[in-house]
């Protein structure tokens, strides 16, 4: 069964600190890994994504790392801000340019950044 496991379930960090969220997966055909950010009362929104041909992608304070051998990915947030407090979901799919593949989501991590 396709699964994506995410940890921790919840996390509190101090403002200015570094946040690290991790995910692991089982299906070796997965090659596309987006992270979605969800604020209370809103739907998730794409934050950053990576394809398996890369091992790192950076966007401002957010960096996602991919380890194909260990089937793991992580999201690092440097200089964490109270405005980063949200729920974060990792996801995975076996993406191709010619066929449909649905996303499998992790369970989510609730992040709280304390001033």
């Amino acid at each position: 069964q396709q699964q994506v496991r995410q940890s921790p379930q919840s996390l509190t960090v101090w403002e200015g600190g570094t946040t690290v969220l991790t995910c692991s997966y089982e299906d070796s055909t997965f090659n596309y890994f987006p992270w979605y950010q969800q604020f209370p009362g809103e739907g998730p929104a794409l934050l950053i994504s990576i394809l398996s041909v890369s091992d790192k992608k950076e966007d401002g304070r957010f960096t996602t790392f991919f380890n194909k051998r260990e089937k793991k990915l992580s999201l690092h947030i440097i200089d964490s801000q109270p405005g980063d407090s949200a729920t974060y979901f990792c996801a995975a799919s076996a993406w191709t340019s010619s066929s449909f593949s649905k996303l499998v989501f992790g369970q989510g991590t609730s992040l709280s950044v304390v001033p």
Binding site: Q9, P34, E42, L51, F89, S97, F100, K102, Q107
Partner: protein
């Protein structure tokens, strides 16, 4: 930019009741999805529709029906509401760059919050 509109935002039902949730998108996207969000369980796919005349069951389709009325709208029906059920139902849409190199992005609505008494 576009928007996904889900109605109603809050839905209170009675046990055994048939309940319908509606979703409209103005992105002109081909693919639409219904997800259920429960605390600690992530997002679970209920139904999806790759194109206007398509309907596919997801991992959690039992107890639900769906209908893609037209390209811009996708409805979900809870066939028999379960007592004490509480969940958020999220609608999303996406567009594919067929033959291209960009993997698809899902755009979500803000959800319908269901409570069953």
């Amino acid at each position: 930019g576009g928007i996904i509109t889900q109605t109603p935002k809050f839905l209170i039902g009675q046990e055994g009741q048939k309940l319908t949730l509606k979703c409209q998108q103005n992105f002109n996207h081909d693919t639409m999805y219904w997800y259920r969000q429960d605390s600690g369980k992530g997002l679970r796919l209920i139904y999806y529709s790759i194109t206007e005349n398509d309907l596919q069951k997801g991992d959690l389709s039992e107890g639900y029906d769906a209908s893609r009325e037209k390209k811009s709208s996708f409805s979900l029906t809870v066939t028999s509401a379960q007592k004490n059920e509480m969940a958020v139902f999220l609608c999303a849409s996406s567009i594919r760059d067929w033959g291209g190199t960009s993997a698809e992005t899902l755009y979500f609505g803000s959800g319908t919050r269901l409570t069953v008494l």
